[in-house]
Each structure stands twice: as C-alpha cells, then as structure tokens.
Symmetry: D2
Subunit: 110 residues, 4 copies
C-alpha cells in the first residue's frame, strides 16, 4: 500500500465517519473520546514502563494501537472543524523552530 | 510545499527532536506533555463551544495549533518506541471497519 | 459511619498505600493513573450523555465509582508530596472568591 | 478553621457554584474543565520532576493549587449528579481492600 499523506488520512477518516459512523460528534464528545483513548495509553504506559511492569510479548504493537486510536480521535476533531493537518503541522514546526532559535540567542529557558 | 506522508511527518519530528530537542523523553514524560496539550485543547473547546463562549476572530486557527501540538507529542511517543504510524493507521482502519461490519450483522451494540 | 474529614480521607488512603499498595509511585506514574481514571470517566460520560447514549440501570452509581477512583489517585498524589488538602481547599476557595469579586468590579471576563 | 468533612466540601462548592458560578455546567463541560486542570498538573509535574526540571521556590504550594483545582472540578461533577463523595469513598475503599485480599489469596496479578 502506498504511503498515506496527512490529507489522505483525513479523507479516509472522513469517509469512515460519513459512511459508518453516521457523522461527526460534537467537539465536547470528540474531546471526551480522545481523553478516553489517552487514558488507555496512560494505563498501558504504566503497565509497560511503570510500577506494575509486566512482560509483554508485543508491547509495541499494543501501544501502536493506542496511538492510532488517539490519532483517529484527533483527525475526527480536525475534520469536523475544517482544519487541514498538513497546514497545521507546517505552522507548528515553523513555530517550534523559531522559538528554539530565539531561546538559544537569549540563553534563557522558560 | 508538497503534501507530507505520515512517514515524512515522523522523520521531520525526529530531526527536530535529535537536533533541537536533544533526544526523546521517557514514555511517562511524553505522556505528561500530551496530557498538557490535550488540556489546552479542552480549555479552548470550553471557550469556543462551552459555558464561557467567547467571540474568537480565528477560532479554527487557534484550535489547529492545539491539535498540531497534540500531534507532535503523539508522533514523539511513536518515534521513541519505533512505531510506524502508516502501519498503525492501516491496522486501526481495518479493525474499525471489521468491527463495524460485525456490529451490523449481529444488530448488537456494545 | 461518621463523616470523614479531608484529613481522615488522606490518612485512610495513606494506610492503604503503605500496607496494601507497598508505597507511593512516582509523580509521573500517579499522574498516568489519574489520566487513566479520567479517561474511564470520559468514556462513561459519553455513554450516559453523549452520542452513544445507553440506558443505565444505575448511572449515578457507576459514575460515583469513577469519581472515587479519580479522588483516590488525587489523594495519593497529594499524600506523596506532603500536601494538605484541607489547606489547599481553603486557599483555592479564597482565590476563586476573590477572583470573582474582582471580575464583577471590573466587568471584564477572561 | 475546623477540618472540613467531604460533605462540607461538597456544600461549600455548591454554594459557590449557585451564587458565583451561576449554576452547574453540563457533564461534558465539567469534564473538559477537569481535563484542563489535569493538563496543568501534568505540565507542572514535567517541570518539577521531568526533563525540564527547574528550581521552584515553592513547588509544593504550586502543586497543591493544581490538585485543589482538580478537586474543585471533581466535586462540581459529583454535586451536579447528586453523588455523595463520602459514600463513594467508602464503597471504593471497600472494593480496593477486597480486591487486594483476593489478589493475595490467588497469588495472581492482573
């Protein structure tokens, strides 16, 4: 399968939501879903790297599944608000890079 | 600028983390960062769509920024654990689609 | 049973953690646990009040359980850092009340 | 000031919400507020104990403030749903203690 671009990811999620999910939820409902998925990731991180460490045959695969679930919720929120992830990503990377350069110039850390 | 694939997104974040961020944090630290960003998104959603509704000149742009910040934290977590988002996305979409078909067949909802 | 004070709640949790839980986790691990519990609450709120509304025989009881789980994680974090909830509560209520008075005086909303 | 019981904490928050806050928000809005506060706590924990460690003159006081903010959001959610924290706490402690005894009997860990 060819590599997906961010825009293709958004399109595929949109098709799924329209055809299977019967439309987007409200922003608050999508946020709650994202929080649920982040919570499952938190649980897994405590299991894998925390106080209740347990052997996992496929830790990466399980974590990959949780991360994909968060990504899905995130893409739903973006789609429903007409947000283009490609553009948002570019703006963010430019901001992070500029912020960092300023930080080194001034030798201050916030 | 050409459209990024998920793999190019992961590469760009990796370059940033190695060169600017001085390496990946621990899973718990990256989780905490993601929770911080989800919290800022929650705050914004309450401002835009909740009890403290306020006029925003550029609501979509601000929300796009928060979503990109979550995406960055998510990609960092994936990168640090050697997780390929393209593959994770494919597995997830296949799972969601199969689960849904089963659901319709059995007419049960969980 | 007599009503518990916040300090008695902290003592009871401390006894449980020392005797049963074998000591406090690190701040990041306790945060991850709290995030897990908030995630379960988010899931329940979507089930009870969201897009996937379902009939619940005892919705309040289930939500009470989730809220208590968050409270437990919160008290663990406070205990481990030597934080007195009674004092923290007083400071917070004073802050909220003062902030509100100022808000009404200036007729501005932030 | 005398020690507050959980029920007095719920009453004080209720008075504040009715008089100052102009009533309870929806469950999803209160959840979003709680997520915002958990996010601020996550940020502080990364600052105090994480990769961006910084000297704090009063780390405990700042963390106490964040924990109190989460507690406030949690009490709001409980109040709005008619949940009695004293009872929820008792049920939870009984459950945790029983679960633990079973765990030791069977020498299994989940």
């Amino acid at each position: 399968m060819p590599d997906y671009t961010l825009r293709e990811v958004q399109q595929q999620v949109d098709i799924w939501v329209q055809e299977v999910g019967k439309g987007y939820w409200s922003p608050h409902e999508m946020l709650a879903r994202m929080v649920e998925e982040v919570g499952e990731t938190a649980r897994l991180i405590n299991h894998l790297y925390g106080p209740k460490k347990k052997k996992e045959s496929e830790p990466t695969q399980e974590l990959a599944g949780e991360i994909a679930d968060i990504m899905f919720a995130l893409v739903c929120l973006a789609n429903s608000q007409g947000i283009d992830l490609q553009e948002a990503f570019e703006v963010m990377m430019a901001k992070y890079t500029t912020r960092d350069k300023e930080r080194y110039k001034s030798h201050t850390e916030n």
